[in-house]
Protein backbone atom coordinates (compact mmCIF):
# COMPACT_ATOMS: atom_id res chain seq x y z
CA UNK A 1 0.00 0.00 0.00
CA UNK A 2 1.51 3.37 -0.95
CA UNK A 3 1.76 5.98 1.76
CA UNK A 4 0.24 8.50 -0.57
CA UNK A 5 -1.60 8.20 -3.86
CA UNK A 6 -3.03 10.85 -6.09
CA UNK A 7 -5.16 10.14 -9.13
CA UNK A 8 -6.17 12.58 -11.88
CA UNK A 9 -6.05 15.41 -9.40
CA UNK A 10 -7.05 18.83 -10.69
CA UNK A 11 -7.61 22.13 -9.00
CA UNK A 12 -9.00 25.29 -10.50
CA UNK A 13 -9.14 28.37 -8.31
CA UNK A 14 -11.99 30.78 -8.94
CA UNK A 15 -10.98 34.36 -8.38
CA UNK A 16 -12.46 37.82 -8.68
CA UNK A 17 -15.51 39.38 -7.12
CA UNK A 18 -17.91 37.25 -9.14
CA UNK A 19 -15.51 34.29 -9.16
CA UNK A 20 -15.57 34.21 -12.93
CA UNK A 21 -11.81 34.30 -13.46
CA UNK A 22 -10.09 30.96 -13.03
CA UNK A 23 -6.55 29.74 -12.47
CA UNK A 24 -5.70 26.13 -13.18
CA UNK A 25 -3.27 25.17 -10.43
CA UNK A 26 -3.20 21.40 -10.98
CA UNK A 27 -4.03 19.54 -14.13
CA UNK A 28 -4.70 15.83 -13.79
CA UNK A 29 -1.83 14.86 -11.50
CA UNK A 30 -1.34 11.18 -10.73
CA UNK A 31 1.46 9.89 -8.52
CA UNK A 32 2.26 7.48 -5.71
CA UNK A 33 4.79 7.65 -2.91
CA UNK A 34 5.99 4.39 -1.39
CA UNK A 35 6.09 3.87 2.35
CA UNK A 36 9.54 4.61 3.74
CA UNK A 37 10.53 6.88 0.85
CA UNK A 38 11.87 10.40 1.08
CA UNK A 39 9.93 12.07 -1.69
CA UNK A 40 10.90 15.47 -3.06
CA UNK A 41 8.36 17.63 -4.86
CA UNK A 42 10.07 20.12 -7.15
CA UNK A 43 8.93 22.80 -9.50
CA UNK A 44 9.33 26.47 -10.28
CA UNK A 45 7.23 29.05 -8.47
CA UNK A 46 3.57 28.74 -9.43
CA UNK A 47 3.96 25.13 -10.57
CA UNK A 48 1.26 23.89 -8.17
CA UNK A 49 3.46 22.31 -5.47
CA UNK A 50 1.82 24.13 -2.58
CA UNK A 51 -1.64 23.40 -3.93
CA UNK A 52 -0.82 19.69 -4.12
CA UNK A 53 0.49 19.65 -0.54
CA UNK A 54 -2.53 21.59 0.67
CA UNK A 55 -4.92 19.16 -1.00
CA UNK A 56 -3.11 16.25 0.64
CA UNK A 57 -3.50 17.95 4.01
CA UNK A 58 -7.14 18.89 3.46
CA UNK A 59 -6.49 22.63 3.35
CA UNK A 60 -7.66 22.92 -0.25
CA UNK A 61 -10.52 21.02 -1.88
CA UNK A 62 -9.69 19.42 -5.24
CA UNK A 63 -11.85 20.31 -8.25
CA UNK A 64 -11.66 16.71 -9.46
CA UNK A 65 -9.68 13.55 -8.85
CA UNK A 66 -8.77 11.80 -5.64
CA UNK A 67 -5.98 11.97 -3.10
CA UNK A 68 -5.47 9.31 -0.44
CA UNK A 69 -3.11 8.94 2.50
CA UNK A 70 -2.65 5.34 3.68
CA UNK A 71 -5.76 4.50 1.67
CA UNK A 72 -7.92 7.01 3.50
CA UNK A 73 -9.29 10.15 1.87
CA UNK A 74 -6.71 12.93 2.20
CA UNK A 75 -7.97 15.65 4.47
CA UNK A 76 -10.11 13.37 6.62
CA UNK A 77 -9.32 13.47 10.34
CA UNK A 78 -8.62 9.73 10.20
CA UNK A 79 -5.90 10.26 7.57
CA UNK A 80 -4.46 13.19 9.49
CA UNK A 81 -3.99 11.01 12.57
CA UNK A 82 -0.98 9.45 10.85
CA UNK A 83 0.68 12.58 9.50
CA UNK A 84 2.81 15.42 10.73
CA UNK A 85 3.27 18.72 8.95
CA UNK A 86 5.78 21.54 9.15
CA UNK A 87 4.47 24.54 7.16
CA UNK A 88 6.97 26.87 5.54
CA UNK A 89 6.28 29.94 7.67
CA UNK A 90 4.49 28.49 10.66
CA UNK A 91 3.53 30.82 13.48
CA UNK A 92 3.06 29.66 17.02
CA UNK A 93 1.42 31.88 19.64
CA UNK A 94 4.35 33.89 20.98
CA UNK A 95 3.17 33.86 24.60
CA UNK A 96 3.69 30.09 24.87
CA UNK A 97 6.97 28.56 25.94
CA UNK A 98 8.36 25.78 23.76
CA UNK A 99 7.02 23.13 26.13
CA UNK A 100 3.59 24.79 26.31
CA UNK A 101 3.52 25.00 22.51
CA UNK A 102 4.24 21.31 22.17
CA UNK A 103 1.59 20.45 24.77
CA UNK A 104 -0.96 22.67 22.98
CA UNK A 105 -0.31 21.27 19.52
CA UNK A 106 0.12 17.76 20.87
CA UNK A 107 -3.35 18.06 22.37
CA UNK A 108 -4.67 19.11 18.95
CA UNK A 109 -2.95 16.04 17.49
CA UNK A 110 -4.84 13.90 20.01
CA UNK A 111 -1.71 12.84 21.92
CA UNK A 112 -2.57 11.89 25.55
CA UNK A 113 -0.92 13.88 28.31
CA UNK A 114 1.14 10.95 29.62
CA UNK A 115 2.66 10.45 26.17
CA UNK A 116 3.25 14.18 25.74
CA UNK A 117 5.01 14.32 29.10
CA UNK A 118 7.28 11.52 27.95
CA UNK A 119 7.92 12.64 24.35
CA UNK A 120 8.31 16.41 24.69
CA UNK A 121 11.62 16.35 26.62
CA UNK A 122 12.90 13.69 24.23
CA UNK A 123 11.97 15.73 21.16
CA UNK A 124 13.44 18.92 22.59
CA UNK A 125 16.70 17.07 23.17
CA UNK A 126 16.65 15.41 19.77
CA UNK A 127 16.15 18.76 18.05
CA UNK A 128 18.83 20.53 20.08
CA UNK A 129 16.26 22.55 22.00
CA UNK A 130 16.90 21.04 25.42
CA UNK A 131 17.23 23.78 27.97
CA UNK A 132 14.87 25.93 25.87
CA UNK A 133 11.65 24.30 27.01
CA UNK A 134 10.75 27.18 29.31
CA UNK A 135 11.74 29.91 26.86
CA UNK A 136 8.98 31.96 25.20
CA UNK A 137 8.59 31.08 21.55
CA UNK A 138 8.60 34.75 20.55
CA UNK A 139 12.30 34.93 21.42
CA UNK A 140 13.24 31.99 19.16
CA UNK A 141 15.43 32.39 16.07
CA UNK A 142 14.26 31.16 12.67
CA UNK A 143 16.28 27.98 13.01
CA UNK A 144 14.89 27.26 16.47
CA UNK A 145 11.36 27.86 15.23
CA UNK A 146 11.91 25.41 12.38
CA UNK A 147 13.13 22.79 14.83
CA UNK A 148 10.20 23.48 17.14
CA UNK A 149 7.90 23.12 14.13
CA UNK A 150 9.49 19.78 13.42
CA UNK A 151 9.05 18.76 17.05
CA UNK A 152 5.30 19.51 16.98
CA UNK A 153 5.00 17.53 13.75
CA UNK A 154 6.74 14.52 15.31
CA UNK A 155 4.83 14.57 18.58
CA UNK A 156 2.14 12.16 17.34
CA UNK A 157 4.81 9.83 15.92
CA UNK A 158 3.50 10.20 12.36
CA UNK A 159 4.02 7.63 9.63
CA UNK A 160 4.07 10.36 6.97
CA UNK A 161 5.77 13.70 7.48
CA UNK A 162 5.19 16.70 5.22
CA UNK A 163 7.98 19.26 5.24
CA UNK A 164 7.42 22.51 3.37
CA UNK A 165 10.74 24.28 2.81
CA UNK A 166 12.07 22.94 6.13
CA UNK A 167 15.51 24.51 5.70
CA UNK A 168 14.37 27.88 4.37
CA UNK A 169 16.15 30.67 6.22
CA UNK A 170 18.11 28.19 8.32
CA UNK A 171 21.91 28.46 8.59
CA UNK A 172 24.12 25.64 7.27
CA UNK A 173 24.53 24.04 10.69
CA UNK A 174 20.78 24.04 11.22
CA UNK A 175 20.24 22.68 7.71
CA UNK A 176 22.62 19.86 8.43
CA UNK A 177 20.82 19.08 11.69
CA UNK A 178 17.44 18.97 9.96
CA UNK A 179 18.84 16.82 7.15
CA UNK A 180 20.28 14.36 9.67
CA UNK A 181 16.93 14.16 11.43
CA UNK A 182 15.15 13.50 8.14
CA UNK A 183 17.55 10.66 7.35
CA UNK A 184 17.12 9.23 10.86
CA UNK A 185 13.35 9.35 10.43
CA UNK A 186 13.67 7.42 7.20
CA UNK A 187 15.72 4.80 9.04
CA UNK A 188 12.82 4.54 11.48
CA UNK A 189 10.52 3.70 8.57
CA UNK A 190 8.79 7.07 8.24
CA UNK A 191 7.76 8.41 4.86
CA UNK A 192 8.88 11.98 4.18
CA UNK A 193 7.25 14.31 1.68
CA UNK A 194 9.61 17.21 1.07
CA UNK A 195 8.65 20.37 -0.75
CA UNK A 196 11.79 22.41 -1.26
CA UNK A 197 13.57 24.79 -3.58
CA UNK A 198 16.96 23.82 -2.19
CA UNK A 199 17.83 21.24 -4.81
CA UNK A 200 21.17 20.40 -3.22
CA UNK A 201 19.31 19.41 -0.05
CA UNK A 202 16.74 17.40 -2.01
CA UNK A 203 19.51 15.62 -3.90
CA UNK A 204 21.20 14.64 -0.65
CA UNK A 205 18.18 13.08 1.03
CA UNK A 206 15.45 12.19 -1.47
CA UNK A 207 14.98 8.73 -2.88
CA UNK A 208 12.14 9.75 -5.21
CA UNK A 209 11.31 13.06 -6.82
CA UNK A 210 8.59 14.53 -8.96
CA UNK A 211 8.76 17.72 -10.97
CA UNK A 212 5.70 19.85 -11.52
CA UNK A 213 5.40 22.57 -14.10
CA UNK A 214 2.30 24.65 -14.78
CA UNK A 215 0.20 22.22 -12.76
CA UNK A 216 1.35 19.20 -14.71
CA UNK A 217 3.59 16.38 -13.57
CA UNK A 218 6.48 16.39 -16.03
CA UNK A 219 8.90 13.91 -14.42
CA UNK A 220 8.78 11.33 -11.64
CA UNK A 221 11.28 8.71 -10.50
CA UNK A 222 14.31 8.08 -8.37
CA UNK A 223 16.99 10.75 -8.23
CA UNK A 224 19.55 8.31 -9.66
CA UNK A 225 17.32 7.34 -12.57
CA UNK A 226 16.35 10.84 -13.48
CA UNK A 227 19.75 12.45 -13.23
CA UNK A 228 21.58 9.67 -15.09
CA UNK A 229 22.76 10.83 -18.53
CA UNK A 230 21.47 8.26 -20.97
CA UNK A 231 24.07 5.73 -22.13
CA UNK A 232 27.07 7.76 -20.92
CA UNK A 233 29.37 6.33 -18.26
CA UNK A 234 32.34 7.42 -16.23
CA UNK A 235 35.11 4.85 -16.42
CA UNK A 236 38.03 4.80 -13.98
CA UNK A 237 40.85 2.53 -15.08
CA UNK A 238 44.57 2.25 -15.45
CA UNK A 239 45.80 4.45 -18.32
CA UNK A 240 44.63 3.24 -21.73
CA UNK A 241 47.49 3.01 -24.23
CA UNK A 242 47.47 5.97 -26.65
CA UNK A 243 47.64 3.60 -29.58
CA UNK A 244 44.35 2.08 -28.58
CA UNK A 245 42.73 5.46 -28.06
CA UNK A 246 43.98 6.96 -31.29
CA UNK A 247 43.72 4.05 -33.66
CA UNK A 248 40.57 2.26 -32.54
CA UNK A 249 36.98 3.37 -33.02
CA UNK A 250 36.23 2.99 -29.31
CA UNK A 251 33.54 5.47 -28.13
CA UNK A 252 35.83 6.61 -25.36
CA UNK A 253 37.34 9.97 -24.43
CA UNK A 254 39.39 11.33 -21.56
CA UNK A 255 37.04 12.76 -18.96
CA UNK A 256 36.43 16.49 -19.32
CA UNK A 257 36.35 16.74 -15.51
CA UNK A 258 40.06 15.92 -15.20
CA UNK A 259 41.70 12.83 -16.44
CA UNK A 260 43.89 11.73 -13.54
CA UNK A 261 42.03 10.35 -10.53
CA UNK A 262 44.97 8.82 -8.67
CA UNK A 263 48.57 8.23 -9.57
CA UNK A 264 47.88 5.06 -11.51
CA UNK A 265 44.23 5.63 -12.41
CA UNK A 266 42.63 7.75 -15.10
CA UNK A 267 39.03 8.74 -15.73
CA UNK A 268 37.39 8.34 -19.12
CA UNK A 269 33.95 8.92 -20.51
CA UNK A 270 32.27 6.10 -22.44
CA UNK A 271 29.32 6.63 -24.80
CA UNK A 272 27.65 3.34 -25.58
CA UNK A 273 24.35 3.14 -27.42
CA UNK A 274 23.48 -0.19 -25.84
CA UNK A 275 24.68 -2.77 -23.39
CA UNK A 276 26.37 -4.86 -26.10
CA UNK A 277 28.49 -1.92 -27.19
CA UNK A 278 29.41 -1.14 -23.60
CA UNK A 279 30.52 -4.71 -22.96
CA UNK A 280 32.48 -4.76 -26.24
CA UNK A 281 34.36 -1.65 -25.10
CA UNK A 282 35.17 -3.26 -21.78
CA UNK A 283 36.33 -6.45 -23.51
CA UNK A 284 38.66 -4.46 -25.77
CA UNK A 285 40.13 -2.68 -22.78
CA UNK A 286 40.75 -5.90 -20.89
CA UNK A 287 42.42 -7.39 -24.00
CA UNK A 288 44.77 -4.39 -23.88
CA UNK A 289 45.57 -5.21 -20.22
CA UNK A 290 43.70 -2.17 -18.93
CA UNK A 291 42.48 -2.74 -15.35
CA UNK A 292 39.05 -1.35 -14.67
CA UNK A 293 38.51 0.24 -11.25
CA UNK A 294 34.88 1.32 -11.71
CA UNK A 295 32.25 2.21 -14.28
CA UNK A 296 29.25 4.28 -13.31
CA UNK A 297 26.44 5.93 -15.25
CA UNK A 298 27.18 9.63 -15.65
CA UNK A 299 24.89 11.79 -13.54
CA UNK A 300 23.94 15.40 -13.83
CA UNK A 301 23.45 17.43 -10.69
CA UNK A 302 19.79 17.61 -9.73
CA UNK A 303 19.94 21.35 -10.30
CA UNK A 304 21.15 20.91 -13.90
CA UNK A 305 18.53 18.25 -14.50
CA UNK A 306 15.79 20.40 -13.03
CA UNK A 307 16.71 23.39 -15.17
CA UNK A 308 16.88 21.20 -18.28
CA UNK A 309 13.41 19.81 -17.56
CA UNK A 310 11.86 23.16 -16.79
CA UNK A 311 13.49 24.81 -19.82
CA UNK A 312 12.53 22.01 -22.17
CA UNK A 313 8.91 22.32 -21.08
CA UNK A 314 8.69 25.97 -22.04
Amino acid sequence: MPALSVSSLSKTYRTGLLRRASVQALNGISLEVDEGAIFGLLGPNGAGKTTLVKILLGLVHPTSGTARLFDRPAGSPAARHRIGFVPENHRFPGFFTATQTLHAYGRLADVPRTERNQRIPQLLKRLNLDGRGDTKVKTFSKGMLQRLGLAQALLNEPDLLFLDEPTGGVDPVGRRAIRDIVLTLQDEGKTIFLNSHLLSEVEKVCTQIAILRDGTLVRQGSVDELTAVERVYDLVATPIPDTLLETSDLPLDPSPDGASVEADLTQYRVRADDRTTLNAVLDRLREADVEIESITPLRKSLEDYFIDVVDSST
Binding site: K54, L59, R80, F85, P87, N89
Partner: protein, 281 residues
Amino acid sequence: MRPLFGLVLITFRELWARKIVLGLFLISSLVLLVVTFALNLDVVEGSLAGIRLFGQEAGPEDMGDDAPPLTLSRVVIAVESVVAGVAYWIGILLALFASASLFPDLQSDGRVELLLSKPIGRLNVLFGHMLGVWSAIGILAVYLLGGVWVIMSLKTGVWNPRFLLSLLLVVGMFAVMYAAVMLMGVWTESTALGLIVSYGLIFVSMVLAAADQIGPTLGPVGSPVFWGLYHTLPNFTEVTQIVSTLAEGEPVSSWYPFLSSLLFGGAAYGVTGYWFVQRDF
Protein backbone atom coordinates in the same frame (compact mmCIF):
# COMPACT_ATOMS: atom_id res chain seq x y z
CA MET B 1 -12.67 15.53 22.43
CA ARG B 2 -8.98 16.14 23.21
CA PRO B 3 -8.27 18.20 20.05
CA LEU B 4 -11.45 20.23 20.61
CA PHE B 5 -10.48 20.91 24.21
CA GLY B 6 -6.99 21.82 23.01
CA LEU B 7 -8.38 24.42 20.65
CA VAL B 8 -10.60 25.88 23.37
CA LEU B 9 -7.52 26.24 25.59
CA ILE B 10 -5.38 27.86 22.88
CA THR B 11 -8.13 30.38 22.03
CA PHE B 12 -8.79 31.07 25.68
CA ARG B 13 -5.10 31.64 26.40
CA GLU B 14 -4.69 33.78 23.31
CA LEU B 15 -7.53 36.06 24.34
CA TRP B 16 -6.26 36.33 27.89
CA ALA B 17 -2.80 37.20 26.59
CA ARG B 18 -4.26 40.41 25.14
CA LYS B 19 -3.72 43.51 27.22
CA ILE B 20 -7.26 44.76 26.69
CA VAL B 21 -8.71 41.63 28.31
CA LEU B 22 -6.26 42.00 31.15
CA GLY B 23 -7.47 45.61 31.38
CA LEU B 24 -11.09 44.46 31.56
CA PHE B 25 -10.12 42.07 34.33
CA LEU B 26 -8.35 44.81 36.26
CA ILE B 27 -11.28 47.22 35.84
CA SER B 28 -13.67 44.50 37.01
CA SER B 29 -11.44 43.90 40.03
CA LEU B 30 -11.49 47.63 40.76
CA VAL B 31 -15.31 47.69 40.60
CA LEU B 32 -15.46 44.73 42.97
CA LEU B 33 -13.05 46.46 45.37
CA VAL B 34 -15.13 49.65 45.28
CA VAL B 35 -18.35 47.72 45.92
CA THR B 36 -16.65 45.77 48.72
CA PHE B 37 -14.76 48.47 50.57
CA ALA B 38 -15.77 51.94 49.35
CA LEU B 39 -19.54 51.47 49.41
CA ASN B 40 -20.63 51.35 53.05
CA LEU B 41 -24.26 50.67 53.83
CA ASP B 42 -25.41 51.26 57.39
CA VAL B 43 -28.17 48.76 58.03
CA VAL B 44 -30.15 49.03 61.25
CA GLU B 45 -32.67 46.28 61.98
CA GLY B 46 -32.87 45.37 58.29
CA SER B 47 -33.41 48.94 57.09
CA LEU B 48 -31.03 51.33 55.42
CA ALA B 49 -29.85 54.00 57.82
CA GLY B 50 -27.18 55.60 55.66
CA ILE B 51 -24.90 55.24 52.68
CA ARG B 52 -21.27 56.27 52.51
CA LEU B 53 -19.22 56.17 49.31
CA PHE B 54 -15.46 56.65 49.84
CA GLY B 55 -16.34 57.86 53.34
CA GLN B 56 -18.70 60.62 52.11
CA GLU B 57 -22.33 60.58 53.10
CA ALA B 58 -24.71 59.84 50.23
CA GLY B 59 -28.43 59.46 50.56
CA PRO B 60 -31.92 60.75 49.89
CA GLU B 61 -30.94 64.33 50.55
CA ASP B 62 -28.71 64.19 47.47
CA MET B 63 -31.54 63.07 45.23
CA GLY B 64 -34.01 65.91 45.55
CA ASP B 65 -37.26 66.26 47.46
CA ASP B 66 -39.34 64.31 44.92
CA ALA B 67 -37.15 61.20 45.06
CA PRO B 68 -38.82 58.13 46.57
CA PRO B 69 -37.44 56.94 49.91
CA LEU B 70 -34.12 55.19 49.55
CA THR B 71 -34.49 51.60 50.68
CA LEU B 72 -31.89 48.91 50.94
CA SER B 73 -33.31 46.97 47.99
CA ARG B 74 -33.33 50.14 45.85
CA VAL B 75 -29.65 50.68 46.55
CA VAL B 76 -28.85 47.08 45.65
CA ILE B 77 -30.89 47.36 42.45
CA ALA B 78 -29.28 50.67 41.56
CA VAL B 79 -25.75 49.33 41.98
CA GLU B 80 -26.55 46.11 40.12
CA SER B 81 -28.30 48.04 37.32
CA VAL B 82 -25.36 50.36 36.82
CA VAL B 83 -22.85 47.50 36.78
CA ALA B 84 -25.02 45.39 34.43
CA GLY B 85 -25.58 48.33 32.07
CA VAL B 86 -21.89 49.17 31.96
CA ALA B 87 -20.95 45.52 31.53
CA TYR B 88 -23.48 45.22 28.72
CA TRP B 89 -22.48 48.28 26.71
CA ILE B 90 -18.85 49.03 27.55
CA GLY B 91 -17.96 45.43 28.34
CA ILE B 92 -19.32 44.00 25.10
CA LEU B 93 -17.84 46.77 22.95
CA LEU B 94 -14.41 46.28 24.51
CA ALA B 95 -14.70 42.49 24.41
CA LEU B 96 -15.51 42.66 20.69
CA PHE B 97 -12.55 44.95 20.17
CA ALA B 98 -10.28 42.54 22.06
CA SER B 99 -11.44 39.42 20.28
CA ALA B 100 -12.09 40.66 16.74
CA SER B 101 -8.65 39.77 15.42
CA LEU B 102 -8.64 36.22 16.81
CA PHE B 103 -10.56 34.56 13.98
CA PRO B 104 -8.75 36.30 11.11
CA ASP B 105 -5.49 35.38 12.90
CA LEU B 106 -6.57 31.76 13.12
CA GLN B 107 -7.05 31.74 9.35
CA SER B 108 -3.74 33.46 8.56
CA ASP B 109 -0.88 31.75 6.72
CA GLY B 110 1.28 29.75 9.07
CA ARG B 111 -1.48 29.35 11.66
CA VAL B 112 -4.34 27.72 9.80
CA GLU B 113 -2.06 25.07 8.25
CA LEU B 114 -0.90 23.99 11.70
CA LEU B 115 -4.49 23.68 12.90
CA LEU B 116 -6.12 22.05 9.91
CA SER B 117 -3.34 19.49 9.49
CA LYS B 118 -4.29 18.05 12.88
CA PRO B 119 -6.92 15.30 13.19
CA ILE B 120 -9.75 17.71 13.90
CA GLY B 121 -12.65 18.52 11.59
CA ARG B 122 -13.17 22.06 10.40
CA LEU B 123 -16.49 22.44 12.20
CA ASN B 124 -14.77 21.35 15.40
CA VAL B 125 -12.06 23.95 14.78
CA LEU B 126 -14.77 26.56 14.49
CA PHE B 127 -16.66 25.24 17.50
CA GLY B 128 -13.51 25.09 19.62
CA HIS B 129 -12.65 28.66 18.70
CA MET B 130 -16.16 29.87 19.56
CA LEU B 131 -16.15 28.01 22.87
CA GLY B 132 -12.74 29.47 23.73
CA VAL B 133 -13.85 33.04 23.07
CA TRP B 134 -17.23 32.62 24.76
CA SER B 135 -15.70 31.01 27.84
CA ALA B 136 -13.06 33.74 28.21
CA ILE B 137 -15.69 36.47 28.00
CA GLY B 138 -18.07 34.40 30.13
CA ILE B 139 -15.51 34.12 32.91
CA LEU B 140 -14.99 37.89 32.84
CA ALA B 141 -18.75 38.44 33.03
CA VAL B 142 -19.15 35.93 35.86
CA TYR B 143 -16.25 37.56 37.69
CA LEU B 144 -17.71 41.06 37.44
CA LEU B 145 -21.48 40.53 37.56
CA GLY B 146 -21.40 37.43 39.75
CA GLY B 147 -18.92 39.16 42.06
CA VAL B 148 -21.06 42.27 42.40
CA TRP B 149 -24.14 40.13 43.02
CA VAL B 150 -22.47 38.06 45.72
CA ILE B 151 -20.88 41.08 47.44
CA MET B 152 -24.05 43.18 47.39
CA SER B 153 -26.18 40.27 48.53
CA LEU B 154 -23.83 39.42 51.38
CA LYS B 155 -23.52 43.05 52.47
CA THR B 156 -27.24 43.77 52.45
CA GLY B 157 -28.98 40.44 52.74
CA VAL B 158 -31.02 41.41 49.66
CA TRP B 159 -30.79 38.56 47.17
CA ASN B 160 -31.89 39.37 43.62
CA PRO B 161 -31.55 36.11 41.66
CA ARG B 162 -33.04 37.59 38.46
CA PHE B 163 -29.91 39.73 38.20
CA LEU B 164 -27.95 36.59 37.38
CA LEU B 165 -30.00 36.21 34.20
CA SER B 166 -28.53 39.49 33.01
CA LEU B 167 -25.19 37.71 33.07
CA LEU B 168 -26.52 35.23 30.53
CA LEU B 169 -27.80 38.12 28.42
CA VAL B 170 -24.42 39.85 28.43
CA VAL B 171 -22.61 36.67 27.34
CA GLY B 172 -25.42 35.78 24.91
CA MET B 173 -25.41 39.18 23.21
CA PHE B 174 -21.62 39.14 23.03
CA ALA B 175 -21.91 35.75 21.30
CA VAL B 176 -24.47 37.22 18.87
CA MET B 177 -22.26 40.17 17.99
CA TYR B 178 -19.18 37.94 17.76
CA ALA B 179 -21.08 35.91 15.14
CA ALA B 180 -20.99 39.01 12.92
CA VAL B 181 -17.25 39.35 13.53
CA MET B 182 -16.70 35.71 12.58
CA LEU B 183 -18.91 35.96 9.52
CA MET B 184 -16.88 38.89 8.22
CA GLY B 185 -13.71 37.10 9.29
CA VAL B 186 -14.42 33.98 7.25
CA TRP B 187 -15.54 36.08 4.29
CA THR B 188 -12.81 38.72 4.20
CA GLU B 189 -10.25 37.74 6.89
CA SER B 190 -10.44 41.38 7.94
CA THR B 191 -10.44 42.36 11.60
CA ALA B 192 -11.36 45.96 10.79
CA LEU B 193 -14.36 44.97 8.69
CA GLY B 194 -15.57 42.60 11.40
CA LEU B 195 -15.46 45.41 13.95
CA ILE B 196 -17.08 47.93 11.60
CA VAL B 197 -19.96 45.57 10.85
CA SER B 198 -20.53 44.55 14.48
CA TYR B 199 -20.37 48.14 15.74
CA GLY B 200 -22.53 49.16 12.78
CA LEU B 201 -25.15 46.61 13.80
CA ILE B 202 -25.14 48.05 17.31
CA PHE B 203 -25.63 51.52 15.87
CA VAL B 204 -28.47 50.32 13.63
CA SER B 205 -30.08 48.65 16.66
CA MET B 206 -30.38 52.09 18.27
CA VAL B 207 -32.56 53.15 15.35
CA LEU B 208 -34.46 49.87 15.33
CA ALA B 209 -35.22 50.31 19.05
CA ALA B 210 -37.52 53.14 18.03
CA ALA B 211 -39.39 50.87 15.62
CA ASP B 212 -42.81 51.68 17.08
CA GLN B 213 -42.29 55.39 16.38
CA ILE B 214 -40.33 55.21 13.10
CA GLY B 215 -41.94 52.20 11.38
CA PRO B 216 -45.43 53.66 10.75
CA THR B 217 -43.98 56.86 9.27
CA LEU B 218 -42.01 55.19 6.47
CA GLY B 219 -44.79 54.52 3.98
CA PRO B 220 -45.87 51.33 2.18
CA VAL B 221 -42.36 50.37 0.98
CA GLY B 222 -40.13 51.70 3.73
CA SER B 223 -42.20 50.38 6.58
CA PRO B 224 -42.03 46.66 5.68
CA VAL B 225 -38.30 47.01 4.97
CA PHE B 226 -37.77 48.64 8.33
CA TRP B 227 -39.78 46.00 10.13
CA GLY B 228 -37.93 43.31 8.17
CA LEU B 229 -34.65 44.71 9.48
CA TYR B 230 -36.11 44.90 12.97
CA HIS B 231 -36.99 41.22 12.96
CA THR B 232 -33.77 40.13 11.20
CA LEU B 233 -30.93 42.09 12.75
CA PRO B 234 -29.81 41.82 16.39
CA ASN B 235 -31.79 44.10 18.71
CA PHE B 236 -28.80 45.04 20.81
CA THR B 237 -30.26 48.27 22.17
CA GLU B 238 -33.64 46.78 23.07
CA VAL B 239 -31.97 43.98 25.00
CA THR B 240 -30.54 46.70 27.26
CA GLN B 241 -34.08 47.13 28.56
CA ILE B 242 -34.27 43.43 29.40
CA VAL B 243 -30.92 43.60 31.21
CA SER B 244 -32.15 46.60 33.14
CA THR B 245 -35.46 44.93 34.02
CA LEU B 246 -33.66 41.84 35.26
CA ALA B 247 -31.25 43.93 37.31
CA GLU B 248 -34.27 45.56 38.91
CA GLY B 249 -35.58 42.13 39.81
CA GLU B 250 -38.70 42.61 37.72
CA PRO B 251 -40.21 39.98 35.39
CA VAL B 252 -39.46 40.52 31.70
CA SER B 253 -42.55 41.27 29.61
CA SER B 254 -41.05 40.20 26.26
CA TRP B 255 -37.97 38.20 25.47
CA TYR B 256 -38.48 38.71 21.72
CA PRO B 257 -35.56 41.15 21.14
CA PHE B 258 -33.16 38.69 22.76
CA LEU B 259 -34.59 35.63 21.01
CA SER B 260 -34.59 37.27 17.57
CA SER B 261 -30.99 38.36 18.22
CA LEU B 262 -30.07 34.78 19.10
CA LEU B 263 -31.66 33.67 15.81
CA PHE B 264 -29.50 36.18 13.95
CA GLY B 265 -26.43 34.88 15.78
CA GLY B 266 -27.34 31.27 15.03
CA ALA B 267 -27.82 32.04 11.35
CA ALA B 268 -24.53 33.97 11.18
CA TYR B 269 -22.65 31.12 12.85
CA GLY B 270 -24.33 28.68 10.44
CA VAL B 271 -23.20 30.63 7.38
CA THR B 272 -19.73 31.04 8.90
CA GLY B 273 -19.51 27.29 9.45
CA TYR B 274 -20.60 26.54 5.89
CA TRP B 275 -18.03 28.92 4.39
CA PHE B 276 -15.29 27.75 6.73
CA VAL B 277 -15.85 24.14 5.69
CA GLN B 278 -16.09 24.96 1.98
CA ARG B 279 -13.25 27.41 1.53
CA ASP B 280 -9.66 26.76 0.53
CA PHE B 281 -6.78 27.91 2.71
